[in-house]
Amino acid sequence: MSTTVLSVRDLRVRIRRRDIVRGVSLDVAREQTLGVVGESGSGKSMTVLAATGLLDAPGAVVGGSSALGGVGDSPPTQLVGASARTLRRVHGGRIGFVFQDPGTSLNPLLTLERQITESLQAHRNMTRRQARVRALELLEAVRLPEPESRLAGYPHQLSGGQRQRVMIAIALACDPELLIADEPTTSLDVTTQAQIIALVRDLQRDFGTAVVWISHDLGVIGQVADAVTVLHDGEAVEQAPISEVFEKPRHPYTRQLLEARPQIGGDGPPAVADDAPVLLRVAGLTSAERRVEDVSFQIRRASTLALVGESGSGKSSVAETLTGLLEPDAGTATLGDADVFGVRGAGEKALRRRISLVLQDPFTSLDPRMRIGTAVGEPLVVHRLAAGRRGRRERVAGLLEMVGLPADLASAYPHELSGGQRQRVSIARALAVEPDLMILDESTASLDVSVQERVLDLLLGLQRDLGLTYLFIAHDLAVVRRMSHDVVVMRDGEVVEYRPAGELFAAPEQEYTRALLAAVPPELPRCPT
């Protein structure tokens, strides 16, 4: 019989008279993984942080109860409203935490040894020697290569995936009963994500830890969780074993989440004519600084070419050279009959009008001090595309409407908008110059699935109606499948495979492409063991 490690009852969080979490109850047992799913703002992190006493928001009022452990004869520890001293004993000792961004979760100034042994010395009263031995064991357990030499190293010497392994080692250092993983693989590449998921599953089996895994990605949850709690607007709308949630979701919101997931086995965009003229030709593009080597491809008018690869593959560098942000060392690019590289003056200005860019992060790609209308109208001013203030205002209203936003949003500031709305604004701004080519650099990667779904629809609709040509840079292969006619797979700055999307997804030729495809979480959850 399994024993309950964490039992949360009617948890409520209120911040400045707003209910963020409204009465959530959940249980996690030993050796079990509970997936907590929801979109941004659903309160998933708040719920778990409040339940573990780690919530540190000014003015937050937490109600309800959250009991940890009670293994054997000892009574469970109440975490809601617990004293700072109790919480200090619990955090790191009985509950381990792994957060999303491995780049900032580790202290850049301390060696890995110091960071791993910190909690051992605090909670287990180990000597430095003992702690060091344990740290070595842990690094071996999380399969970090050459653990011995890594101990004296610093976080910047590790890759993102390796840092996340170290974070897991730190979280597991004191044999916690409970491991909280808050979007632990979200900022990692798919292949790394697959490795981390496998690692956590193995460790859980070996150590018997209970895991609460927070994620926005149902695919990931399907791979790790035994049971799922779906949060929406601070409420648990569905709580069921994983297979049930996937097979017969009861709540409409769960169904919506499942349907919004782009699927790798799905259909691509409508085909383009084979004789469509080539709009952009890139040949032999090389940048020594970014280690991009001899990249060549071409995009037909009104089609989408996807650039796919993991972080550091050089796909964004290609976008930067095409938009003039980075000077390439060699290679040519022609847009229609105009050269893209090395143009200056009036020629450059005219060229910039023909290629526009939409970036990943809707929160940083808009000037926080500029109203939406001004931001969208900026290219109109720069290229003198609208007559007068009045003409500009009308054009901005038209552009906002085109991306499905109300015209009165023009007077709002970016922070008043949601992520999805902001990304629509970025798209409207990119459309303002009536570009021939639009470069979408991970433009939907940081959006919630349902929002992403709508933005992808918008992009497909714009392509159909305006005959737009896209260079679509992405790491999410399911999204790529849905959007693109041709795919370029990049690795370490080189093109690995370049083929029509249909062929590539049906029968990948290269080993690396196959590995990428295999690492994508399958549509159905793993069979419960």
Partner: protein, 272 residues
């Protein structure tokens, strides 16, 4: 707090403009028989060693002190922010040259540099403004450059560049508004310090020249009478204190008001 400090600054400004009219006596009305009188009905803040009315002199001195502080900081602001933004945005040689100049200016102690400038030019109001202005320029340059460096790599600036936007437009529309926060705080701090610097220069006899009153000059005159006539130093000192405080509070508030994000938060809090 912002409103209180703004109101206070408004009062100080009005006093500066209407001082001649408000003052009960003439600035330089000497009355040796009534010298060193403590505060009383006829002389609210007492009189100095020449029998001049302290209240009158504190009021009239507001003019000179404010004028010098505002003009000097305006000078430092314009020159410093321009240099800092240009250096930060262009980088390379421009940055290296401008910032080495700033480094050299920073290497001198503030007052020493001001003293040197006043010594080269003749003492007087314009010289004092120039001296304080030059001394405060490098701080503005550094603050503006540092902020520019972080703003210029923001994605929204990059996107604007890819749309073919010119440098001047980017500097004016994206960089300047987004570095406003730290620069404004620096401005309010500098205004406060400029008043102190003017007081210090005048105290050393190099700022405002007698018989014209300034708060610093009055402190200078008071030092010989510290034990016999406390009112000679306390009231000009209090004037400096209140003005400096008002500038500091106002700067803090202004930064919040100019930030659209803060504005919404403040509005939301009020609506609750």
């Amino acid at each position: 707090m912002t409103k209180v400090s703004a109101a206070l600054l408004a009062v100080i400004g009005i006093v500066a403009i209407t001082a001649d009219w408000l003052a009960p006596y003439g600035v330089n009305d000497i009355d040796v028989a009534g010298a060193l009188q403590p505060p009383s009905g006829s002389h609210l803040l007492g009189t100095d060693e020449l029998g001049r009315d302290i209240a009158t002199r504190v009021l009239v001195a507001t003019q000179a002190s404010l004028q010098i502080a505002v003009a000097a900081v305006a000078f430092a602001f314009v020159v410093g922010v321009t240099a800092g933004v240009v250096a930060g945005y262009l980088g390379g040689w421009t940055d290296a040259v401008l910032m080495r100049v700033v480094d050299v200016m920073f290497a001198f102690p503030v007052l020493l540099l001001a003293l040197a400038i006043v010594a080269v030019l003749a003492p007087g109001t314009t010289t004092t403004i120039l001296a304080i202005g030059i001394v405060y320029t490098p701080i503005f340059a550094r603050v503006a450059r540092a902020s520019t460096l972080s703003v210029r790599v923001e994605p929204y600036v990059q996107v604007s560049r890819t749309l073919g936007t010119g440098r001047i437009h980017i500097l004016g529309r994206h960089i300047l508004p987004n570095i406003a926060g730290p620069v404004i705080v620096q401005t309010s701090l500098s205004l406060a310090f400029a008043i102190l610097s003017e007081a210090a220069l005048s105290f050393l006899g190099l700022g405002i020249q007698p018989p014209e009153p300034s708060w610093g000059r009055m402190l200078f005159d008071a030092q010989g009478f510290m034990h016999r006539a406390w009112w000679m130093s306390v009231f000009p000192g209090a004037a400096i204190f209140v003005t400096v405080l008002a500038f500091n509070l106002f700067g803090d508030g202004l930064r919040d008001v100019l930030d659209p994000k803060q504005r919404t938060v403040t509005a939301a809090r009020k609506n609750q």
